[in-house]
Symmetry: C2
Subunit: 100 residues, 2 copies
DNA sequence: AGCCCTATCTATAAGTA
DNA sequence: TTACTTATAGATAGGGC
């Protein structure tokens, strides 16, 4: 969608990967938000920049735990039992996150 | 991106939400795949159709467990210890999933 | 319920300052 | 580099089968 048609393969230049990530991150986040609103659905988008910085998007209706539990088709009982223990770390503050 | 500019709000009609979901799902999956390849990054996209059918995309380099563990900044040791127990259900077969 | 079409809107690759 | 611009490629809303 630019001046030139890109081949979809790993960009050679690191700085190019950063610039492209930055631009496309904005775009895909917008798409995820629009989709979640228009169609009233649960959605999770989790991605890492080339430098390793994570971005998490989830719809307004749901936390990441809820969506993943839904995906795993856990019953509420199972969910409570397991407590989605491994995901609790996601709630720890003071991380280099972008949470949306 | 169509004949008319859509207002980004919940679509009134259920059938319309389904149709729009189907179209935009294709689009956002393509974006996720392109981003993961171009920028050589980890990414997870998990979404549910209006009927509740889940779709999971993850880059070729990583499983959902790996990406989420990375996000949670678990060490390999922690990861092994916890075994990401709650996510094991994701591996169960014969679900109504689209895994990509 | 899909699957094509295409006018129209949107994202973005390079370019520019 | 940090934005901003814009020509162009890409996504999609509504319509037709």
């Amino acid at each position: 969608m630019g001046r030139v048609k890109l081949k979809i393969k790993r960009l050679e230049s690191y700085s190019n990967r950063q610039v492209t990530y930055s631009k496309r991150r904005t775009g895909i986040l917008k798409k995820a938000k629009e989709l979640s609103i228009l169609c009233d659905i649960h959605i999770i988008l989790l991605m890492f920049s080339p430098t390793g910085k994570p971005t998490l998007f989830h719809g307004e209706r749901s936390s990441i735990e809820e969506v993943i539990a839904k995906f795993a088709q856990l019953t509420p009982q199972e969910r409570a039992k397991r407590k989605l223990e491994s995901l609790e770390a996601l709630r720890k503050p003071s991380r280099n996150w972008t949470m949306i």
